[in-house]
């Protein structure tokens, strides 16, 4: 596999230096670390929360939690997997607190855009909503896996590193998830 196993959003040596400074209490280094990972981290939180405002809450809480536990992260280990796992746990806890009504799909995509990308094709809109409902009902691990693969475009080794899985487990889970989406497809589409 030609994909590098390191997480690509920040240079590893630079990350190690910033992490070392942050572990010794330097808030600015932590800020620098967070800014380097802000976009992918927000996108991950967004996928986990399925709502922008909840994603913001999870992102900020996770960052605070990461700061408190920063001393436990071995130097040399990448920062993003630690952040992602915290966000996953936070999202799972957040989901438990959500009311069933709040989990219902609204008239908009999670991003606020109308379903179907603004197109007037009702079949397209229904298809998007169907896929989104299946995704919304997945567990946080599966949502995270799909987000890292489909949104961030990470390879199997990188996903395995972030999620602390083996590459085989990543491949197996992706197959199972795709099979699940396929089996839930309407009969005419299948």
């Amino acid at each position: 596999m030609a994909v590098d196993s390191s997480v690509p959003w920040i240079e590893a040596g630079r990350e190690a230096g910033l992490l070392l400074c942050a572990q010794q209490g330097d808030v600015d280094s932590f800020d620098e670390l967070m800014r380097a990972h802000a976009q992918p981290f927000y996108r991950l939180c967004f996928a986990l929360a399925c709502r922008p405002d909840d994603a913001a809450e999870i992102m900020i809480e996770s960052a605070q939690h990461a700061w408190r536990g920063l001393h436990q992260l071995p130097v040399g280990r990448p920062f993003f997997p630690c952040l992602a796992r915290i966000a996953r746990a936070r999202a799972a806890a957040h989901r438990r607190r959500m009311t069933p009504e709040a989990r219902e799909a609204s008239a908009h995509r999670p991003s606020g855009l109308p379903w179907g990308g603004g197109a007037s094709d009702p079949a397209h809109m229904a298809e998007e909503q169907r896929i989104y409902r299946i995704f919304r009902d997945l567990g946080a691990d599966d949502q995270m896996l799909l987000s890292l693969r489909l949104v961030e475009g990470l390879g199997y080794p990188q996903i395995a590193q972030v999620m602390d899985l083996t590459e085989g487990a990543v491949a197996g889970r992706l197959q199972a998830l795709r099979a699940r989406f396929e089996s839930a497809a309407p009969a005419e589409a299948a």
Binding site: L20, Q23, Q24, V27, D28, F30, E101, L150, A171
Partner: protein, 426 residues
């Protein structure tokens, strides 16, 4: 005809099949329309999901969120919702109407925050709208019908819960002050002499596995100077809630590993927690009397900092010649750094690059310094950074397939950029 399995289709979409299997799949898809349609459907689901989940809040929002994170860390506030003032330039989704049945989130948009100002004033049965505060609270005067409170302990002004609460609050404050006073007496006074006497022992208590191993330790420190009480242990945060609040207002818990605690540190010294990073990348340690950090409001939100770590990372391709097998500093890097003295209490940062005899960077080499229980691994460019107390230290570089390299390096301000070339193992 045997159709393709989901494993083959999925790995074909992700392009992780080996060459032989990829050829088999490709040829099968050419002749099997059913598998080709199935593959297209899977790809369509992937693309749809990627579209749904892709959302960019914008750089302005992310910068504001980053500033909010730093502000919360520095102020130690937990669970406070994102300040609406922070998101004045809120992206469009802030103004989205809430979904039916969805409770409003406190982050909200600036507009939503403006709409959600004070709760509706209560209406009494007579139809008169009452203000949300009581008259005495607003005007700061006592109600005429309530007698003046008697500020004597043990006497309760019946009929006035406010006054009883005030007395109870006062007692709580007095009790808190007494606890602080007792703790302050229990702890050693923070005079420079006391701190100097505690410096080596605290470092030993910090979890250094080899007491006295490094040059920063004094193995013969008197036993009386050792901090034996749990309250004297700076790493014991459970026993030191007040010290936590006083000494470490914004930082993470002090590391029990040698990275943070092998350094001889005085008890009252700020644990580099609130020390800001200077433009040279060194942590400025404030004197105890100074405030720990600048107020968050004065903090530039979007101004990125240029750290010397990045500067040291320049010229990644200029690795040493194969002949060089010793550690030698780069003069340009040393000259480029500012003179020492601005942050004498900081550990210098030692960075460098490890390469093989052909000049290729060695990834995953373990660099360790004597007396510091810390190993760092080189990245894919063979680079590493480590921070340790100043002075000469033996450094060893271990990498698979190479002879262990040992050399003495001097850590000092104006950190040198090391170039190490490893010899292959035989």
């Amino acid at each position: 005809m045997t159709h393709l399995s989901m494993q083959q289709l999925s790995e074909s979409i992700d392009d992780v099949l080996d060459w032989a299997t990829r050829e088999v799949v490709r040829r099968h898809l050419r002749v099997c329309s059913e598998c080709a349609a199935r593959r297209r459907r899977i790809q369509h689901v992937d693309e749809t999901l990627a579209q749904i989940l892709s959302y960019d809040p914008g750089d302005a929002w992310l910068a504001a969120a980053g500033a909010e994170i730093v502000e919360r860390i520095q102020s130690g506030i937990e669970g406070r919702p994102l300040s609406p003032n922070r998101v004045a330039g809120a992206p469009a989704w802030y103004a989205l109407p809430a979904s039916p049945g969805v409770t409003a989130f406190a982050v909200g948009s600036a507009d939503a925050a403006a709409d959600a100002r004070p709760a509706p004033a209560p209406v009494d049965p007579a139809g008169e709208v009452k203000p949300p505060w009581t008259e005495p609270q607003r005007a700061g005067v006592a109600m005429p019908s309530v007698p003046a409170p008697v500020p004597v302990a043990g006497h309760s002004s019946s009929g006035s819960g406010v006054h009883a609460g005030a007395i109870a609050g006062g007692l709580a404050v007095v009790a808190g002050l007494a606890v602080i006073l007792v703790l302050g007496i229990t702890r050693q006074p923070r005079t420079p002499e006391t701190l100097q006497a505690h410096a080596p022992t605290v470092a030993e208590q910090g979890g250094a596995p080899k007491p006295g191993a490094g040059p920063g330790f004094e193995a013969g420190a008197p036993e009386s100077a050792r901090a034996t009480s749990p309250l004297e242990d700076p790493s014991n945060h459970e026993a030191h809630p007040l010290q936590d609040a006083a000494d470490r207002p914004a930082g993470p818990p002090a590391r029990t590993a040698a990275v943070a605690d092998a350094r001889p540190r005085t008890i009252s010294e700020p644990v580099r927690a609130s020390a800001p990073m200077s433009s040279t990348g060194r942590v400025k340690v404030h004197p105890a009397a100074e405030p720990p950090s600048a107020p968050p409001a004065s903090r530039p939100v979007a101004a990125p900092q240029t750290l010397p770590i990045a500067r040291r990372d320049r010229a990644p391709d200029t690795l040493p010649s194969p002949a060089a097998s010793s550690v030698h500093p780069t003069p340009s890097a040393a000259e480029a750094l500012p003179p020492a003295g601005a942050a004498d209490e900081d550990w210098p940062l030692l960075c460098g690059a490890i390469a093989d005899p052909t000049g290729e960077p060695v990834q995953g080499a373990i660099v360790s310094l004597e007396g510091v229980d810390l190993n760092v691994r080189t990245d894919r460019r063979g680079r590493f950074c480590v921070s340790a107390p100043s002075g000469a230290r033996a450094m060893s570089v271990v990498a698979q397939g190479f002879v262990t390299h040992q050399a003495t390096v001097t850590l000092r301000d104006g950190a040198d950029d090391l170039r190490v070339t490893l010899s292959p193992a035989r």
